[in-house]
């Protein structure tokens, strides 16, 4: 009886002692790891501070200006290059759907749909959508087109093509490969 309890207790004491020893050493290792990590964090932070200072030094506006002048073709921005309202920017309108029911009324191609469609392509035009230059770029030759067709297209935003009225343009001379300049009507129908 006594021997049994003594054995049990010595075993218990042994296990507890070993656990304590083990845990204590584990804690000591972890603490030294933590110390090392903290030390390296501080080192890194100091390195970051040095790099930030160097970054600020390298980004001196006068140095950047000199580098930009020597190495690039960039120039200081002038007031005429600043546009505060993006909608006033003259850029090509992305895409404009051409009404599908346009038909050439006169000339040798009278009766054929405009723009020409590939045989067998059904109602879909080969030019279902055509990029259209905005009015900002629609100058020069385009004037003739609209002058001839001023009476057309009262629908705002519709396309003006020389198909009727006045003096229609001979469409036979219009090659598909030539970029078409199409004019957008504005709300008043005036150019």
């Amino acid at each position: 009886m006594i021997r049994w309890s003594v054995t049990l207790f010595s075993l218990l004491i042994g296990v507890v002692a070993w656990t304590l020893f083990h845990v204590s050493y584990e804690v000591r290792t972890l603490e030294s790891d933590l110390r090392g990590l903290n030390r390296s964090i501080v080192t890194e932070q100091q390195a970051i501070a040095v790099l930030e200072a160097e970054w600020a030094y390298l980004n001196r506006p006068d140095r950047l200006g000199r580098l930009a002048h020597d190495l690039t073709r960039l120039q200081p921005m002038g007031p005429d290059q600043v546009l505060m309202e993006p909608e006033t920017l003259p850029y090509p309108l992305p895409v404009l759907d051409i009404p599908a029911n346009l038909v050439v009324e006169d000339g040798p191609l009278a009766g054929t749909p405009f723009p020409p469609r590939r045989p067998g392509s059904g109602t879909g035009s080969a030019f279902d959508s055509v990029p259209v230059a905005s009015t900002g770029f629609a100058t020069g030759g385009a004037t003739d087109v609209t002058a001839a067709t001023e009476s057309l297209g009262t629908d705002p935003g519709s396309l003006v093509v020389p198909v009727a009225g006045g003096d229609p343009l001979p469409l036979t001379n219009v090659s598909i490969d030539v970029p078409l300049t199409l004019i957008l009507q504005d709300e008043q129908g005036a150019r």
Binding site: V27, L34, I41, V42, Q46, W55, P61, D62, G78, G136
Partner: protein, 604 residues
């Protein structure tokens, strides 16, 4: 019963080895051993000794039991409760730089203007250096600052420690380590570093050897910089600062001026976006600092501002209701008063409207307006604008205005055109900001307002007066002879000032302070730009003039042209009817341009 005795009891008789002593107990022989279960009664001396032994055993046992119990308690305490009772000192230590002497200073975009860096300094132990010649050779190749002969001499000394170079860069340290010379070492010291050097010399300032701020923000916010790690956000924009400094330097060089200063301020908040004073110094090389370069002319310098004060004079009169833009003032003849003659620079010598007084910068007209206003109202108005006290900007180098004492009628007259009262540029810029921004005075500040900052301004003039002033300043700019197209798109309005420098013998015709204070865009002013040149010289390009209009105004225009896109100010077409409408003021003989007829069929 005695349990313990400190002394051994003295033997009852003299000790004799041969004497037979009485046995303590009867000799236990086999026959005499009592059988088990028999009680033995010991008596006499033996019984007494046993009693004492038992008592001693008991007491010792109790003491040990208590001690072990205490150890057990403590052990449990340490093992089970240690984490809550006392935290590990390492776990509690934060992973941050152990000691930061000073917080950083950054500009409004977060660009580093001042920081504290651990800087290595190079030293040597010459006794450990094997070959001083080779070491000196290698070192001078890496560090051009070091002089070969001196270095060789230093390294050849028989001493255990010599400094070779204080404060080297990390790259230099790396290069020196690569050389692998024995006997060299590094000592790390904390040093203040200013990446922008001269550019921020007066605003940021610098620290002394013990890390205490000596001038600028470093000095005025010394306590704050020491106590907290959080960087101090200045209202300065380092890009605008660069542009202002470049343009001032260019003008100083062109006109051979002795000094110059400039300020850009946000009129809606009072935040100073740029503050430059030239000549300046390099905070990393204090040998470049002396009385001239160390002086912050933007805040410490006080100047008679000249005609720029006419803006304030006119505003005071308009606000007091004693005149209107088109009311007439007698400027027919120079004014003689107590031995002084007040004349115009380029006199019209006729009756001038209030608008014309400013447009022609008439001293006579301004004096008439000031006389109508009276000394008291003039004083009160200047006081409200903060021109009679030192500016409240966060610098210790703030100049006290030179105020006439006593304030005689002649002072009232001369102050109307900016003589006889010297104020600092930063005070003037704050006051002009309130003239154009709708009438609210915001004290100029060098600290950026946080998002939760509550603006506190004081109303100094009404909206209407402010609008009139905007139109008048635009009128002055439009009539300026030195306009060169720069800054036109930003609708600048301003007022020139040219003051002769006072000397002991009176005013000096040849020594001038030329300035221009402007705001842009005049339709909705956002920034005040000020430039002042000290003793500029006339050059052929300016037809020999060195006045504010010919020297400072072009500087301001160039600055505006360059900073406008940067600060996001919308350029506008100064010819467009809306702009002309917004800024027009009638003066006799001024022809309003016909609005452009837009050609039919042309659209933008």
């Amino acid at each position: 019963m005695r349990l313990f005795s400190s002394r051994r009891p003295a033997p009852k008789e003299t000790f004799r080895p041969d004497a037979v002593r009485a046995p303590l107990r009867a000799p236990l022989t086999a026959d005499l051993r009592p059988e088990a279960g028999t009680r033995v009664n010991i008596q006499g001396r033996a019984a007494e000794v046993m009693d004492r032994g038992r008592s001693r055993l008991l007491v010792t046992g109790v003491v040990f039991a208590v001690a072990f119990f205490a150890v057990g308690i403590r052990l449990t305490d340490v093992m089970v409760f240690s984490n809550t009772v006392e935290a590990s000192p390492i776990a509690a230590a934060p992973a941050a730089p152990p000691v930061v002497q000073r917080a950083d200073i950054v500009d409004r975009n977060g660009t580093l203007l001042a920081t504290t860096l651990p800087t290595p300094s190079l030293y040597a132990n010459p006794r450990q250096i094997i070959d001083p010649v080779e070491a000196a050779d290698l070192l001078t190749a890496v560090m051009p600052d070091l002089v070969y002969a001196e270095l060789l001499e230093t390294l050849s000394r028989n001493r255990p420690f010599v400094w070779l170079h204080r404060g080297i860069t990390p790259q230099e340290k790396f290069a020196i380590n690569r050389l692998g010379i024995p006997g060299l070492g590094f000592q790390t010291e904390e040093r203040r570093f200013y990446p922008f050097g001269n550019l921020t010399s007066h605003v940021v300032g610098f620290t002394g050897v013990d890390g205490e701020g000596l001038i600028g923000i470093e000095q005025s916010l010394d306590g704050r910089l020491r106590s907290s790690n959080e960087p101090v956000n200045l209202s300065i924009d380092i890009r605008v600062q660069t542009i202002l400094r470049e343009e001032l330097l260019r003008t100083i060089g062109r006109h051979n001026a002795i000094a110059g200063t400039g300020i850009v301020m946000d009129v809606e908040t009072g935040e100073v976006i740029a503050m430059v004073s030239l000549p300046d110094f390099n905070p990393a090389d204090l040998s470049t600092m002396n009385d001239e370069t160390g002086m912050n002319r933007a805040s410490l310098g006080v100047y008679e501002m000249g005609s720029t004060f006419k803006v304030i004079n006119t505003a005071a009169a308009l606000e007091a209701g004693i005149t209107t833009l088109h009311a007439e003032h007698d400027a027919v003849q120079p004014i003689r008063f107590g031995g002084f003659t007040i004349d115009d620079y380029r006199g019209q010598y006729r009756t001038l409207t209030t608008a014309e007084v400013l447009a022609y910068s008439s001293n006579i007209g301004s004096v008439r307006i000031a006389q109508d206003l009276g000394t008291e109202r003039q004083q009160a108005f200047l006081d409200r604008l903060g021109l009679l006290q030192p500016a409240s900007v966060e610098l210790s180098e703030v100049g006290r205005p030179l105020i006439p004492d006593p304030w005689r009628p002649i002072n009232t007259m001369t102050i109307s055109f900016g003589h006889g009262l010297s104020v600092s540029p930063v005070s003037l810029v704050g006051a002009i900001g309130s003239m154009v921004n709708g009438g609210m005075l915001y004290e100029p500040t060098l600290l950026m307002h946080g998002e939760d900052h509550v603006l506190t301004g004081t109303r100094v003039i009404g909206e209407d007066t402010s609008e009139s002033i905007r139109r008048l300043m635009r009128l002055v700019e439009e009539r300026s002879a030195s306009r060169d197209g720069y800054g036109d798109a930003y609708l600048i309005g301003g007022k020139t000032g040219t003051a002769e420098k006072p000397t002991a013998a009176g005013y000096n015709d040849d020594a001038r302070v030329s300035s221009y204070v402007a705001a842009f865009p005049m339709t909705d002013p956002q920034y005040v730009v000020f430039a002042l040149l000290d003793e500029p010289q006339g050059i052929p390009e300016t037809h020999g003039f060195a006045t504010g209009g010919w020297v400072a105004a072009p500087t301001v225009r160039r600055v505006v042209e360059r900073i406008g896109p940067m600060l996001g100010v919308a350029p506008a077409d100064p010819e467009s009817p809306e702009i002309i409408d917004a800024l027009w003021v009638d003066i006799p003989g001024r022809q309003r341009p016909e609005p452009l007829v837009h050609q039919a069929g042309i659209r933008n």
